[in-house]
């Protein structure tokens, strides 16, 4: 099948990669994916990816953490086994609130951070025992790989990529 063929263009510098991405996008080719050894600042914008919504998720997770902390402390310290906190036996959540604030803060951060990481992994389709999708192990070291779908235009595309500074260009059949 023709459509399952892709070109892997390999770069060895992030600045060269960035300008290449802009060039390829300007020629209206579709970039499937880019593999980089480290996050390249501004790459998402250059590729035209939609902005991340992880901040909204993080806010929601934080709110959940805060709620869990409040309910948990209320149950443990006030209802289930009322505690005399700081010599002030008021047995009211509100009056003892200062003592609970550190826990409320920590659980907010804990929930936001952990759930955000888990969300990120799931969204990126990464889970235990998953096989690597990475087409070339060198992209975990010092090379950058741009994957572009080929639609019978491999010659022009190859020329464009060569010009943009790719150090290596491979035509790959993705079918197998």
């Amino acid at each position: 099948m023709e459509a399952s063929k892709v070109i892997h263009a390999i770069y060895n510098d992030d600045d060269v990669l960035m300008s290449a991405v802009k060039k390829v996008k300007a020629e209206r080719y579709h970039i499937e994916e880019i593999y980089t050894p480290f996050p390249v600042h501004g790459l998402d914008k250059a590729m035209g990816l939609a902005p991340t919504r992880i901040a909204i998720a993080s806010f929601i997770y934080g709110c959940i953490g805060l709620t869990v902390a409040i309910l948990m402390m209320n149950f443990i310290m006030i209802e289930d086994w009322p505690q005399d906190i700081g010599g002030k036996p008021s047995f009211s959540y509100l009056e003892n609130m200062p003592a609970f604030v550190p826990i409320m803060f920590e659980l907010t951060v804990f929930f936001a951070a952990h759930l955000m990481v888990i969300t990120f992994y799931l969204r990126s389709r990464m889970w235990p025992f998953k096989n690597s999708e990475n087409p070339d192990p060198r992209t975990t070291d010092d090379h950058f790989l741009m994957e572009i779908a080929v639609d019978g235009n491999e010659n022009e595309l190859t020329a464009l990529l060569k010009e943009s500074g790719a150090v290596e260009i491979n035509l790959v059949d993705k079918a197998h």
Partner: protein, 450 residues
């Protein structure tokens, strides 16, 4: 080059004149005779009713305590009434002093906070901020006059005035107070003045030389001026964190000479840092609206707003840390500080947490909002008001007690120093080009992109 618009200059003069009139009015009306104070207290008592009833029940308790002591109790009651009226009279006299001092300190600390911020930018070789350096340098021009005014008011209150701010300046009080007596080796007027002058001299020397190197770097061939500025900035930051802490003990914490808190210096620092950065953002937005600073864009504003957001949270962290430890341990000599604040200052004390924490955290959390000028201005004004109230809460409970109000003396003092601040800062801005031409990170800063 920036030219100080006539409109703004007239505005600053108007603020100063209005402020002076109000401050004068505050001082004129603060001298009440003992009789006036007594009638005032009686009127208040009858108006409230509750206080009056309490007083009668007090008398009845005294009356039942036995025949012989009855007469003594009554004279004591009368005597106590006199003492109370004198106390109130003193508090009323303190109010214009405290109002003036709070406002003077508030504007001084904006300048000092920005001086530290500027030093941090140079010492850390930050790449985003050099386009804002000239605005920061303009703001720190207020530091020397501002700090001298604060120290001047403090000294005047203990010499010209009647110990209106610092009770430890009153030898009569010290003689009857074992605790303050033990602290006289630190808390005495000459040493207080010398310390104050050392702090001010150190800050101003750094300000003078860093400005000089910054100006020299504009036309320099090499980066030797930048290197010198880098070195003195690092040294200044060490000097600053010690002197800022001691300054906050001297100029603020010692109004309550019995009370102490070990993180007070940090707490004041957080307040001055966030106020300074907020004013920086306001001035940037103002200058941009007047078509200056064409090289500053929303990316720079975004970073400044991030600092406003982050340091609002930092302030809350310290505010709460100080409160929680004292609340938890509940030691009388410490907890009295918060008892007065929760008792007589409930609205400003809790209101400032809303203004300094809840409001900025909700307003500035979203990245897109940090890039919208009017949004930053709105949040910034609330943060500034909140930090004014913060300083208000530090000084007022010790000097005027429950006789506080944000009225003519307070607002006019604010206007007076706001006018002075605007005049000095914007005059300083006209003295140099608004872009640091020769600074090594200028290019990086101009191209800074979030």
């Amino acid at each position: 080059m920036y030219t100080f618009s006539n409109k703004l200059r007239t505005f600053s003069f108007a603020l100063i004149i209005l402020g002076l009139l109000g401050v004068g009015y505050g001082f004129m009306t603060s001298h009440k005779s003992l009789e006036e104070v007594k009638t005032m207290i009686a009127e208040e008592a009858s108006a409230h009713g509750g206080g009056h009833a309490e007083a009668t029940s007090h008398e009845m308790v005294a009356g039942t305590s036995g025949e012989q002591s009855h007469g003594a109790a009554v004279t004591e009651e009368v005597h106590h009434g006199d003492e109370h009226a004198e106390h109130v009279q003193h508090q009323i006299a303190n109010r214009p002093w405290s109002a003036l001092y709070v406002a003077a300190f508030f504007f001084m600390m904006i300048s000092l906070g920005i001086l530290a911020f500027y030093a941090i930018q140079i010492a850390s070789q930050a790449g985003w901020s050099p386009v804002l350096f000239r605005v920061m340098e303009g703001m720190t021009a207020y530091l020397l006059p501002g700090a001298l005014i604060v120290l001047g008011i403090a000294v005047a209150s203990g010499t010209l005035g009647h110990y209106n701010l610092f009770v430890w300046m009153d030898p009569e009080v010290v003689a009857h107070d074992k605790l303050i007596e033990g602290k006289t080796s630190w808390l005495n007027l000459p040493w207080f003045v010398i310390r104050g002058l050392i702090y001010i001299a150190g800050w101003s020397l750094y300000r003078y030389f860093s400005r000089k190197f910054s100006m020299a770097q504009d036309t320099a061939e090499d980066t030797s001026n930048f290197k010198k500025a880098f070195r003195i900035s690092a040294a200044f930051l060490v000097f600053f964190i010690y002197t800022e802490s001691m300054m906050s003990w001297d100029w603020i914490m010692s109004v309550d000479p019995h009370w102490f808190s070990t993180l007070f210096g940090w707490y004041v620092f957080a307040s001055m840092f966030v106020s300074g950065i907020t004013v920086l953002s306001l001035i940037i937005i103002y200058l941009k609206s007047r078509n200056y600073l064409e090289f500053v864009n929303e990316n720079h504003l975004h970073d400044v707003a991030k600092f406003m957001f982050a340091f609002s949270i930092f302030w809350t962290y310290l505010w709460f840390s100080q409160f929680m430890l004292i609340w938890y341990s509940n030691i009388p000599e410490e907890v009295t500080y918060f008892v007065t604040r929760f008792g007589d200052y409930k609205l400003p004390f809790l209101g400032m947490v809303v203004m300094n924490f809840v409001f900025p955290i909700l307003m500035l959390m979203n990245a897109d909002f940090k890039r919208v000028p009017w949004f930053v201005v709105m949040t910034g004004l609330v943060i500034l008001a909140g930090h004014y109230v913060d300083i208000f809460n530090m000084i007022m409970p010790a000097t005027v007690g429950d006789r506080w109000f944000i009225g003519i003396p307070e607002i006019s003092s604010l206007l007076l120093f706001a006018g002075l601040f605007i005049f000095i800062v914007f005059t300083a801005l006209t003295k140099a080009p608004l872009l640091v031409k020769g600074y090594p990170f200028r290019k990086e800063s101009e191209h800074f992109h979030y």
